[in-house]
Symmetry: C2
Subunit: 225 residues, 2 copies
DNA sequence: AACTGATTGAAACGCCTGTTTGAATCGGGC
DNA sequence: GCCCGATTCAAACAGGCGTTTCAATCAGTT
């Protein structure tokens, strides 16, 4: 074997699928990137679909190493939420080629699930979801399951929006304004927005409130003052 | 002319593009749905791309009628935000075939912008963005432009997540749990989450807070108790 | 050196795509 | 009736796709 074509194919396929999605990617282009022949993908993987599944599996395996890198289990839940959000936002915006490709693959799976997405949910997305959920549970022990789900989706939705709607958002507010929304600003914004919504931190903007806008606080807020 | 093939083509193309996106849609399938010949699309519109642009334009024209349907300009800003969010969520989840197709088209443009997306931003998304922004400005006069943008994205992100990540979310928490997250619950959740983050309403969950978690509330929160 | 099984390479197959072609059809003005 | 421009139709074209085929090549064994 001429220096493991299989690995080179996997790497090339990872890039190609991340860039163009399953449909958009072509085995010809993948073969070319891997510097090998068109038939190699069929010889080593059977067909395009099986190659894609192997890529997803490998991406997941590689990704799951850094799952618990930011787990300061002893830290304040609010701080752990901040760290989680920050790590997530960095992952979405980051420039690390490897992680970026894997995130792109997972995001594509979210939008157009293939047969391989069950596995992805079970082994990659699921654990992250559970972790965020448990942090939120510590922060708001009173919340039931349904509320916890909605809270997780509120956070994840805020973050992923910057990935999904990037092109439109940029045209919407202008390139310069969009550039100012960098990783630090966004992480801090989403963390403060969320923590304020949970009543753990003060509102995100100094509400020198027109006063009449304020709706009388609920019973819990009364207790806490 | 045998009863305006052009209109039938537009309608068929609207469905097809909404379902499968620009790449996924085929002119053959569109022609078949319209009950006409393959060459008709080329005769009436030139090519597939021009047909797509016309579909987007028509969808926008049709959509912009109900832009200001829920504008109770006199109502409380918080109530108008609630109404806005509710309308948005309904639009995303709704069963109205027409609106649904148009939303789907716009969402697809968000993800994979074509040449036609500039127009879409300028004429369809832009005005909605501006309206939400102005509501938020009334609620938080102290927020600067950057903060306002981030706030808009936080709200829109929460809502659209239910569209984008639907498939994955369903597998994540189970079909039954996901079904419980209906339009009313989601609308209410996002509205309360947001208004709490802005300090206009009390926190979203009754924080029978472990107390030590509470970070000293801001000045406005103190006033409200 | 000769054989063998694994791997690679160039070419072709069959299918589907958007687009084009040229003949057939229709409705209305002379 | 006849013609003419507009419209429809079946058929074909050119290109890209995933997949298959089969001969050529290589490493290791005998």
């Amino acid at each position: 074997m001429e220096f493991d074509t299989k690995k080179r194919l996997l790497a090339a396929a990872s890039e190609e699928f991340a860039e163009k999605g399953f449909e958009g990617a072509t085995v010809r282009s993948i073969s070319y990137r891997a510097g090998t022949n068109l038939a190699a993908v069929n010889y080593h993987f059977g067909d395009k679909t099986k190659l894609y599944e192997e890529v997803l599996l490998e991406a997941h395996r590689c990704e799951s190493f850094d799952l618990d890198e930011e787990t300061h289990a002893d830290a304040h839940p609010a701080e752990r939420l901040r760290a989680y959000i920050r790590g997530f936002v960095f992952g979405v915006f980051g420039t690390d080629a490897h992680r970026n490709r894997h995130r792109a693959l997972m995001l594509r799976e979210m939008l157009e699930p293939t047969s391989a997405s069950d596995l992805l949910v079970r082994e990659a997305i699921g654990p992250r979801f559970a972790r965020l959920r448990s942090i939120l549970h510590e922060l708001t022990p009173a919340a039931d399951d349904q509320r916890l789900h909605a809270l997780v989706f509120s956070i994840v939705g805020q973050i992923l929006h910057y990935k999904f709607a990037r092109a439109i958002s940029e045209r919407l507010i202008g390139a310069e304004a969009y550039a100012r929304l960098d990783v630090d600003y966004i992480s801090d914004h989403i963390a403060r927005f969320t923590l304020a919504a949970l009543g753990v931190e003060p509102p995100i903007v100094a509400t020198e409130t027109p006063d009449d806008l304020l709706i009388p606080a609920g019973p819990s807020a009364e207790e806490s003052s």
